[in-house]
Symmetry: C2
């Protein structure tokens, strides 16, 4: 499960900590998701989609 988090974040000039705060998760979680160590839960995927105002399918890609 690949994702475009790093790019989307960079486009907005947000640090991982900035994004973590908006998502109400830890900075380590954002980092782990970006670096592909694990996928977010479905509820967190929805919050990510909300923050970027995009569909989940536009952010997370089937491998």
């Amino acid at each position: 499960m690949n994702n475009r988090l790093k790019v989307l974040r960079a486009e907005r000039s947000w640090s991982q900590a900035d994004l973590a705060e908006r998502l109400e998760v830890s900075r380590q979680s954002v980092n782990a998701i970006e670096t592909g160590r694990y996928d977010p839960s479905l509820p967190l995927a929805f919050r990510i989609a909300d923050v970027f105002d995009m569909a989940i399918e536009e952010i997370f890609l089937r491998d």
Copy 2:
């Protein structure tokens, strides 16, 4: 995180076991998700969307 699995499945006259087989998960997982005991992982949510040929956002609803 509410979902429309039970309805979508009924529309197709699939049993929980039928759906489980298509998703390659256990029947207990399908049941647990339908009865709201837990949310699927993001990869499983994608497979569910694929099986029903719908967007994740059309199947799973922000509470």
